[in-house]
């Protein structure tokens, strides 16, 4: 932008100089005008350097969405979800970033959740040290695809949101980065953190993986993900995590997570999918002694009808909680209109299969307008 301005300034200056000479102005004035033009060019070039690379830069990014859903038992406008992301960068050394997810509770009160907040120290070209609370690097949906302007459907895949099978955030230290061995892409993330908390809810065991600002036991959870791109448009990822978790007042039990994901973009078509499994071992004498396993997976295909702004999406997902009778399945078909690449209108129909008589078993239409900024 500034370079264009510099070029235009030079062109205008030359034109003005030419016009002046053509009109027969004294050579002294022409020289003075040329001096002015040269000084202006130097000033703009200096401004360009400053604008390009100040030592500290503060930036506000994020996303927001508003929606409407309708099913047999009810129809409702969904609350506006606003998620600003704050970036503060110092040279090529450090980036501090934080995302706050804001919305309304059912009673109308405002809710603000710190999605993540971390210091990111750039160690070298292949490693960044992340400290604080960060999105779980297990899998791909949670860390890369959950923002409303990126997710191609208004809803998240079954089991990849709160209360699902995929871990959400972690508090600890992470190292992540990438390599290009042989021209191929290889990215990685490894972490050690507080790990999850186990809670009892109406006699059921639940794993809380979000916002654990303290460790429920002395054992830390370690995990990570490796992603490999054998082709520039194909990524395959493998993730795992392991640690200990316990109900308050009880002994530890093993906690493990496994995940595989892929993404493939041949031309205007995009295919992606992910499988995640979270397992908590049994514990004799516990209030809830059985082994618990949560499984979720989805596959999604989308097609952009270029050069139009329309895009079609189809997704199938399944979430299997420890109580198999509560299994959820879902087909979701959607059509999107891209007002801009970061302003997306979505309309989808979800065919849900859940225990008969539950709200989750009802099919529904969902509309959403999402904006990434």
């Amino acid at each position: 932008m500034i370079q264009r301005y510099v070029r235009q300034t030079g062109t205008l200056g030359a034109a003005a100089l030419g016009a002046t000479l053509a009109l027969g102005a004294p050579p002294a004035d022409a020289a003075s005008l040329q001096d002015d033009v040269n000084r202006l060019k130097r000033d703009v070039a200096s401004l360009k350097d400053t604008a390009k690379a100040p030592d500290s830069v503060v930036h506000l990014a994020g996303y927001g969405s508003a929606g409407f859903s309708s099913r047999k038992s009810d129809s409702t406008f969904q609350v506006f979800s606003f998620s600003p992301i704050f970036h503060y960068q110092y040279k090529d050394l450090m980036l501090m970033q934080a995302e706050i997810e804001m919305g309304y509770n059912d009673d109308g009160s405002t809710e603000a959740v710190l999605e993540y907040a971390s210091l990111n120290l750039i160690m070298n070209d292949h490693a960044v040290l992340v400290a604080g609370q960060f999105l779980s690097p297990i899998g791909q949906f949670r860390q890369n695809l959950h923002p409303a302007w990126i997710n191609k459907l208004p809803s998240k895949p079954l089991g990849f949101a709160d209360g699902g099978a995929a871990p959400l955030t972690e508090t600890g230290v992470e190292v992540r980065g990438g390599f290009t061995p042989g021209g191929k892409g290889l990215n990685y993330a490894v972490y050690i953190g507080n790990g999850p908390k186990l809670v009892e809810n109406a006699g059921e065991l639940e794993v809380e993986t979000e916002g654990n600002s303290s460790d429920a036991n002395k054992n830390k959870t370690v995990g990570g993900r490796v992603g490999y791109l054998p082709l520039h448009n194909l990524e395959i990822g493998v993730s795992a995590a392991a640690g200990k978790a316990n109900l308050p007042g009880e002994d530890n039990r093993n906690y493990r997570v496994y995940d595989v994901d892929f993404a493939y973009q041949p031309a205007v078509i995009e295919l992606r999918g992910e499988y995640v499994q979270t397992k908590v071992d049994s514990l004799a004498g516990s209030a809830i002694p059985d082994e618990h396993t949560w499984k979720a997976w989805y596959v999604q295909a989308s097609h952009k009808f270029t050069p139009s702004h329309w895009e079609a999406v189809l997704r199938y997902g399944k979430f299997t909680p420890p109580e198999k009778s509560q299994e959820l399945k879902q087909w979701a078909a959607g059509i999107n209109y891209l007002f801009a690449n970061n302003v997306i209108g979505k309309l989808s129909y979800e065919k849900n299969d859940a225990p008969t008589g539950t709200v989750g078993d009802e099919n529904r239409f969902v509309a959403q307008l999402a904006y990434g900024f």
Binding site: K52, A53, D92, N120, M123, V128, W149, V175, V190, N342
Partner: protein, 113 residues
């Protein structure tokens, strides 16, 4: 059996952690190259041709191949040159890009807006 699996997992994690420590503590190629560039003062190579600096064409390729893996490509005109820097750093971390890829993409975007 579970404990054996955990021990194996812990060994793998320890080995991975050792590798990561080596990666983290290795000198920055960008800084090393920058120092070399200062002394070499090549008269013929452009900044983009020197490894370690951002390169427009490499950036165009990296931008095309990496950004669309997760989301629609953003318009370079959305932000000023300076504001793109933290955005690209954020994406470098999120997408597991190398520092060189990030510098190339930043160069491409700043030259394209």
């Amino acid at each position: 059996m579970n404990n054996q699996r955990m021990q194996t997992f812990n060994r793998v994690v320890f080995a991975a952690a050792a590798g990561i420590v080596l990666v983290v503590l290795s000198p920055s190629p960008a800084n090393a190259q920058e120092a070399a560039n200062r002394t070499a003062q090549s008269a013929t190579a452009t900044a983009g041709e020197r490894a370690g600096q951002g390169d427009y064409l490499r950036g165009l390729k990296a931008w095309e191949q990496n950004c669309a893996r997760c989301h629609n490509a953003r318009d370079p005109k959305e932000y000023s040159d300076a504001l793109w820097k933290p955005v690209i750093t954020h994406m470098r971390i999120r997408a597991g890009l190398t520092g060189q890829e990030a510098r190339d993409i930043l160069k491409f975007i700043q030259e394209s807006n």
